[in-house]
Symmetry: C2
Subunit: 448 residues, 2 copies
C-alpha cells in the first residue's frame, strides 16, 4: 500500500520570521503575514502597519498596487523589499526599516468591524468590556506586551531553576484536601464523592523533595475568594519551588533573591520592545534585598504612622504599601522580605523557629506595595508534624498519605510560591491584577 | 532602622553539583548531599551508593570512619576525594569515578524503615501499592527516570515552539462550557452557579491565534472518564499548540513531525543516563512520517485481518495497535498519521474538508499502538461556524464569547494536543499510562 508522507523538515512558509534580523536585510525581498493594524490611505501612497506575531511593521504601498479595498483588521500576506527608515512610533519594531510592498493578498476579511479601535496607541475601552471582549482587546499591542513580559518571567523562572538542578514536576489539581486551610477552596463532585481544587501544589512539591531533592512547578491553582478586589483572582498561575538540605528559611530567601536578579536581567535582555512600549522600570536588584521581621515591620509602621498594628498576625494592605515605599526611599530597594509570621497564622506544614517562640521560619516578599511571594521552611520531622496537626485541631490520620514522607524520611526543606499575575502586574505598573491574567476568573466572571 | 540583607548571590552550599564535571575532578575534594541508596558493610570497607538529585554515586568508606550507625534511607552530607573507578551498575552515574569518603554527617535519620526495598534494581511492589505509596515508590531510580524523560519532552516542546515564534499562554481551567462535548466533563459549584473543568484549552488557544499568531499551552486538563483503563487518566498534562496562516491540517502535521524529530534528538542528548537505565529505544524519525486516511486504514485492516470496521467513525484499540505494527514492519516507522475523520465524530470547531464530503481536515498520530495526538484545521469563517453549531444541535448564542474571534476575524488556523503521559509511557515502554503520571487520578484514586 502506498501511503503519503509528512516531512520532518519544517516547510518554509511555516517558519517564523526572525524580526531581529530584518534590519540586516536591506534591499532584500521578504514575505510577511499578519493583520492590518493601522491604515492611512493618501492619494499617492498608503501607509500600512502590519501587526505580526509580536511586533508591528511599517509598510508602504504605492500605486499601481491597489489598497482601497483593504481595511484595518484584515489578515493579509505581503511581499516587499526591506528599506531603511527612521520611525518614532514605539508600537513599531524594528524602527529602522520599512517594507516597500510589491504584492499584497487578503487571506481573510472579517465579517464585522471591531467594536473599538485597537489601532490607537492607548486602548480606550471602559470597565468590563476589556474583559468581556478579551479575545479582541488582547490584540492591542500594549495588551499583548504584558503577556510577553509574563512569558519571560516564566521562562526565566524555569531556566534559572533548571540550571540549578531542580526537576520540573506537575502536581495534581483535583485533591483530597486543601493545603492552605480556610474556606476559600472549591469543592467538586468527583464521581461518587467530594474532592477539591488544589489551592497550591504544597504537598506534592514536598513529596518532590524526597524524590528529586529540588523541584519546581508552574501551574494553575484555585482560590474560592468571594472578594472581588484588585488583588485577587479565583484561579492564577503559581510559580513554585521546593528544595532539600537547607539550614533555614534564609536559604530559600537567598535562592529567591538570586532568582529575581536573574529574572530582571532576562527581561532586560529579551524584552526591550515591551519595556519601551509599556514604559516599564525594572526594579534594581543589587547585591542584596532588605529583610525585617513582622514585629519590626509593625513597629516601624507604628513609629512612622502612629497606627498600632503590633498585635496583628499579618500585614494590612496599607502597611505593605508603606513598607515598600519606605524601603525604596530609605534603602533603595523596591523589594522587601518580611519574616517570622506567627505560628497561628501560617499553615500546618510550616516550621516553628526554635529561637523565636510562637513564630515561624516563614517569609513574604513585598514588591511595590503588594505581597508577591510566600515561603518558608517546612516541618520534616514526623513527630513534629503530628504534633502540629494536633495543635491545629486536625487529625493526623486524615493526612496519612501526606505523612508518608515524614515517616520514611525527608531532609530539612523549604520553598516558596510566586504569584505570576501579581508579579507581572507590579512590573508593568498595572493596578488591577486581573489585567495581568489572559482570561481572568472572578466571582462574577467565567467568560470568555 | 537597621535591616538584615539577603544576598542575591547564591550561597555556595545551595549550588547544585554539576555531575557531568565530576569525572574531571580526580583527586579533588567535593561535598555531596543525598540519601543512602544502597549500603554494603564489609569488615574493612563500606560501599555506599548515594542517591542525589538525579544520579546515584558510588562511594567508599574506610575505617577509622564509622559507618555502622548508618542505614539505607538516611539523609547525609559527605565530603571526599574523587578517584577513578570502573563500575558497571547502570543505576550509578558517572561510572568512571567513586568518592573516597573523608567526612560523613547524618542530616536526617527517618523514624521508620521503608516498607519495600528501593535499593533493588527493579522496584518490586505489587498493584496499587506503587500508587498508594507514591511519595516513596517514586524515589526508585527507574521511577525517577521516567519523569526525567517526561521533563525533557516538555522542555523540548517549549523550546522548539518558542524558537519558532510561538507565545506561551495559560488557559483558564474553570470554564463556562466544554470544548470537546460528551459527558466526560467535571462539574463544579462556582459560587452561585455551575461551571466545568476544562477538557482542553481549545477555545483559548484559538483566541491566542488572533492575539499572537501562534501559541502553545502546557497545562492540566480534566476528563471525567468512568472507565478505569490502562489508557486513561482523569487529569493529565496536555501539550497544545495552535497557529495561524496555514493552508490545511497538513501544515500542522508538518510542524508536529518537525517537533517530534527535534524532541527525540533533545532526549538523546539530554537523557543518556535514563535511556540506558530504562533501556529506552527512541523511535527513529527519519525524513518523513507516513499518513493515510481513516478509510484507507479501515480498508487495510479489513484486507489484512478480515475484520470489517469500514463503517466505524473511529479506530478501535486493536486497529491502532495493528496499524503501527504494520507501519513499523512495512514502512520502518513506529509513528503514523491517520487523517480525515468523519464530521460527526469530531468537535464542532473542526473544519470540514471541501474535497471530501462528510470528512474533516483532522488527524490523529499513532505511536506504538496508541493515539498520542489529536489535531486538525479549525473553522475560521463566522458563518461556517454558526452553521456547524446548528448542525450539531447547539445554539450559537450559547457560544457568543467563543464566536467573537470569528466575527471580528481570525485567519485560517489549526493545532493539536499531545498527551504527555501517553507519549512518556510509549517512549519508556510502560503499558499503564498511570505509571507515567507522578500522582495519577482515576475513578477510584484521589490520593496521595
Amino acid at each position: 500500500m502506498n501511503t503519503n508522507r509528512v516531512e520532518t523538515k519544517l516547510n518554509y512558509s511555516l517558519l517564523s520570521l526572525d524580526y531581529n534580523s530584518i534590519s540586516q536585510k536591506i534591499d532584500q525581498e521578504i514575505t510577511l503575514t499578519g493583520v492590518i493594524h493601522r491604515l492611512r490611505v493618501l492619494p499617492q501612497v498608503t501607509f500600512l502597519i502590519l501587526r505580526g506575531e509580536r511586533f508591528c511593521i511599517q509598510s508602504v504601498v504605492e500605486p499601481p498596487l491597489k489598497s482601497d479595498h483593504l481595511k484595518e483588521g484584515d489578515f493579509i500576506r505581503m511581499k516587499g523589499k526591506v528599506s531603511s527608515a527612521k520611525l518614532s512610533d514605539k508600537t513599531i519594531f524594528p524602527r529602522d526599516i520599512e517594507i516597500k510592498v510589491s504584492e499584497l493578498t487578503t487571506i481573510h476579511a472579517p465579517s464585522s468591524i471591531l467594536p473599538f479601535d485597537i489601532s490607537k496607541k492607548v486602548l480606550n475601552v471602559g470597565g468590563e468590556v476589556l474583559f468581556d471582549m478579551r479575545p479582541i482587546s488582547l490584540r492591542h499591542p500594549k495588551q499583548r506586551a504584558i503577556f510577553k513580559i509574563s512569558e519571560s518571567i516564566v521562562n526565566a523562572f524555569q531556566s534559572f531553576l533548571s540550571n540549578n538542578g531542580f526537576t520540573r514536576i506537575f502536581s495534581p489539581k483535583i485533591v483530597f484536601a486543601g493545603a492552605e486551610g480556610g474556606a476559600n477552596i472549591f469543592q467538586i463532585q468527583y464521581f461518587d464523592r467530594k474532592a477539591y481544587l488544589a489551592q497550591s501544589p504544597q504537598f506534592y512539591k514536598q513529596f518532590g523533595v524526597g524524590i528529586f531533592g529540588r523541584v519546581y512547578d508552574v501551574g494553575t491553582v484555585f482560590r474560592a475568594e468571594k472578594h472581588n478586589t484588585n488583588r485577587h483572582l479565583n484561579e492564577y498561575i503559581s510559580l513554585d519551588f521546593e528544595m532539600g538540605f537547607i539550614e533555614s528559611h534564609l536559604d530559600i530567601m537567598n535562592v529567591e533573591a538570586a532568582l529575581l536578579a536573574y529574572m530582571m536581567e532576562y527581561i532586560r535582555e529579551h524584552n526591550p520592545y515591551e519595556i519601551e512600549l509599556l514604559e516599564i522600570k525594572l526594579p534594581m536588584i543589587g547585591e542584596s534585598i532588605p529583610a525585617m521581621t513582622l514585629d519590626e515591620a509593625h513597629q516601624l509602621y507604628f513609629e512612622k504612622k502612629k497606627i498600632d498594628m503590633r498585635q496583628e498576625p499579618d500585614l494590612a494592605t496599607e502597611e505593605e504599601k508603606f513598607l515598600t515605599d519606605w524601603s525604596t526611599r530609605e534603602l533603595g530597594s523596591e523589594l522587601m522580605f518580611i519574616t517570622h509570621y506567627p505560628s497561628s497564622k501560617r499553615p500546618f506544614y510550616t516550621k516553628d523557629d526554635p529561637a523565636a517562640p510562637g513564630k515561624t521560619r516563614s517569609f513574604d516578599l513585598l514588591f511595590r506595595g503588594i505581597e508577591i511571594t510566600t515561603g518558608g521552611q517546612r516541618i520534616n520531622d514526623y513527630q513534629e508534624q503530628v504534633e502540629k496537626f494536633k495543635t491545629f485541631g486536625l487529625n493526623p490520620d486524615d493526612f496519612d498519605s501526606f505523612l508518608q514522607m515524614h515517616k520514611y524520611g525527608i531532609p530539612p526543606h523549604g520553598g516558596l510560591a510566586i504569584g505570576l499575575e501579581r508579579l507581572t502586574a507590579r512590573l508593568c505598573n498595572i493596578n488591577n491584577v486581573k489585567e495581568a491574567a489572559l482570561f481572568p476568573r472572578d466571582v462574577h466572571r467565567l467568560t470568555p
